[in-house]
């Protein structure tokens, strides 16, 4: 049992603007931190995406860079997307191009299948491609 974090979850966990999504993300995070969803993992594509987004947040960028990915190595294990993961993500991206998902999204899907994990996301399109979704 494990959970893979998506960019949209990381974003809404820390950005309070949408109170409903933020509250749901905080609730899920407390469950993850208590070990109720097993291991908490992600990958370096998501990390890069979060940082790319953070740098576009104007005056909030410093807070975002500091917050995204928690600064707590004990929380999430960020794996490198290895060659097999990349190849499978690319194959799925080509085969299912009509879904409009990014390579990062497909890396999350492949990683979640590899770990039999659910995906923590608010992104409906990614959620439909993944086998199990939280919150």
């Amino acid at each position: 049992m494990a959970v893979v974090l998506d960019t949209s979850f990381v974003y809404d966990l820390h950005v309070t603007r949408n109170a409903d999504r933020h509250a749901r993300a905080v609730g899920l995070f407390r469950d993850i931190a208590a070990g109720r969803h097993g291991a908490c993992i992600s990958n370096d594509y998501v990390y890069a995406e979060c940082n790319a987004f953070a740098t576009r947040m104007g005056p909030s960028r410093v807070a975002a860079i500091d917050a995204f990915f928690f600064g707590e190595p004990a929380v999430v294990r960020v794996a490198r997307v290895d060659h097999r993961m990349f190849s499978e993500a690319r194959r799925r991206m080509l085969a299912e191009a009509e879904r409009g998902l990014t390579l990062t999204d497909w890396a999350i899907v492949v990683q979640s299948q590899r770990h039999k994990a659910r995906v923590a996301t608010f992104d409906g399109a990614l959620g439909r491609a993944a086998a199990g979704v939280l919150p």
Binding site: M1, A2, T7, S8, Y11, D12, H14, V15, T16, R17, N18, R21, H22, V26, F29, R30, I32, A33, A34, G35, R36, G38, A39, C40, I41, N43, E49, A52, F53, R56, S60, A63, A64, D66, A67, F70, G71, E72, A74, V75, R77, A79, R80, V81, D82, H83, R84, M85, R99, G100, L101, Q111, R114, H115, A117, T121, F122, D123, G124, A125
Partner: protein, 135 residues
């Protein structure tokens, strides 16, 4: 510089290392030392981090309340309510699953390309044709 560190291994792990050493020595036709085998395994682990992670994926985080509070204390407001589907628009510059060619940025780029093509002198194209005939 040689590092001399002892690592305790279980009898099962030692047996596995011996088997791998025998296999590699037999298949490669050259003596493979335990030290070389360990170095190769570490290299392999670095290459296949996500597969390695799978072996530890069932280990859930167990955070103290203070660690959870520290993560959540990094929350901040952002003046824009960015929907999950709009994150890609901000990171990659086009809508999720959308048509990059239809974005204002792409239209500006296309206009610039058209302008530069219109301004380009015809002479270089003729030059290239002449060179091709000559080869």
């Amino acid at each position: 510089m040689a590092a001399d560190t002892s690592v305790k291994v279980s009898p099962e792990t030692k047996r596995g290392l011996d088997e791998l050493q025998a296999f590699l020595t037999r298949e490669s036709g050259q003596k493979v030392t335990l030290q070389a085998l360990q170095a190769a395994l570490v290299d392999l682990g670095r290459e296949e981090q996500d597969r390695l992670l799978a072996a530890f994926a069932d280990r859930a985080p167990a955070l103290s309340k203070a660690q959870v509070d520290r993560v959540l204390s990094r929350s901040f407001d952002f003046p824009l309510d960015v929907a999950p589907e709009e994150l890609d628009d901000l990171v990659y510059g086009f809508p999720h699953g959308g048509d990059a060619a239809a974005t204002p940025g792409a239209r500006r780029l296309a206009a610039r390309l058209r302008k530069s093509r219109a301004a380009r002198p015809a002479a270089p194209r003729q030059g290239r044709r002449k060179r091709r005939r000559g080869t």
